[in-house]
Symmetry: C2
Subunit: 209 residues, 2 copies
């Protein structure tokens, strides 16, 4: 009568963790809850995973592995940078609840270097080498990290702010803000992402000449 329970596996545990993270965020993950979701005893998990921290690490890695290498058929370095940036954004949008966690975490050396190498390749194509290329890559990473954190934080489908922020503030003290109140109160993430991206690319172009 007892259905032969699927045996516990690191695989199955990490899967469950990833699902839970994507559904309710990292803070919802607990060993007890995970075990319950798997129909197992809490402590059984510890036969496959040393502790919660590395379980979360494993889940983060699994999600990271969902980053697909970008595809682009162009010789223009700008198109490569655009495609790379958009691929990162795609990852963030596929896993909004996990993104902050991913961004905070140190990536595994292997995957990390794959990304770094690709980025360096793009800057190389643009004519940037050595320390300058590293600096540009880091500036780009910073911008991506920042916009995407903001985008994820303001996406309404996960409790992000709706606002309009001018509840009980005396706007007469802030004339410039008042003049762009409509723009301040709304987000067009597609357009904003592209705007910032083009801004940075323009800066690189200018740096070249």
């Amino acid at each position: 009568m007892s259905p032969p329970r699927e045996p516990l596996t690191r695989e199955r545990i990490v899967d469950a963790a990833v699902r839970l993270i994507e559904r309710e965020g990292v803070e919802a993950v607990s060993m007890r809850r995970l075990a319950a979701e798997l129909g197992a005893g809490t402590m059984s998990l510890y036969n496959h995973v040393p502790n919660k921290a590395v379980l979360v690490d494993l889940a983060a890695e699994r999600i990271m592995a969902d980053a697909r290498p970008y595809q682009v058929d162009s010789d223009d370095w700008r198109d490569h940078i655009r495609a790379h940036a958009r691929a990162v954004r795609e990852l963030a949008r596929r896993h909004p609840r996990a993104f902050v966690m991913l961004a905070t975490r140190r990536l595994s050396s292997e995957a990390g270097f794959r990304t770094i190498e690709a980025a360096l390749g793009n800057f190389d194509r643009a004519g940037f080498r050595g320390g300058v290329a590293v600096g540009m890559m880091r500036a780009m990473v910073s911008y991506l990290l920042g916009t995407l954190m903001r985008e994820v934080a303001t996406s309404p489908e996960l409790g992000g702010i709706a606002l309009s922020p001018y509840e009980d503030v005396d706007m007469s003290a802030f004339p410039l803000s008042a003049g762009v109140m409509d723009e301040l109160g709304t987000y067009d993430h597609d357009q904003e992402f592209e705007f910032g991206l083009e801004l940075l690319i323009a800066a690189l172009e200018r740096y070249r000449s």
Copy 2:
């Protein structure tokens, strides 16, 4: 004999929370620990603060209030933007353990609009108005958020990574990375911050013409 205990106050509680956050980070804050630090019973705190979440909010606000308006004597819009950016960085460096929390949190409308208004003023000086100015401000905020998160996360004095990351990775697969291994393994936050900042300013200049 008993020294007349200083009475509990919202003020004193928030102070203790701020100190604890700056010393050990938000995750170290607990009502029990805070009470112990104040020589009071745990539940006494609830006479002055409705729950932990708003206590942390209050602490965040108090830290935020430490943001000093920047000073600069120049008519050049670039200098204003530089000064503003550096002021934000100063705040992050004064409160590294709290910065991620601050960045994640929604700022109080009043302080928020003061910052926004100042930023819009700088873009106005540069000749940018309306939606374009808002877009630029957001791009700038994204960059600041990103670099400073990275800077704080990699600052060694709070458990940031030391690395050199090439533990057991086969570097021959990543020739470009291998070529800049020294640069990848070290951070000069001052220089990197300024580099990215100048990059963005250059982009704005180019956009103007």
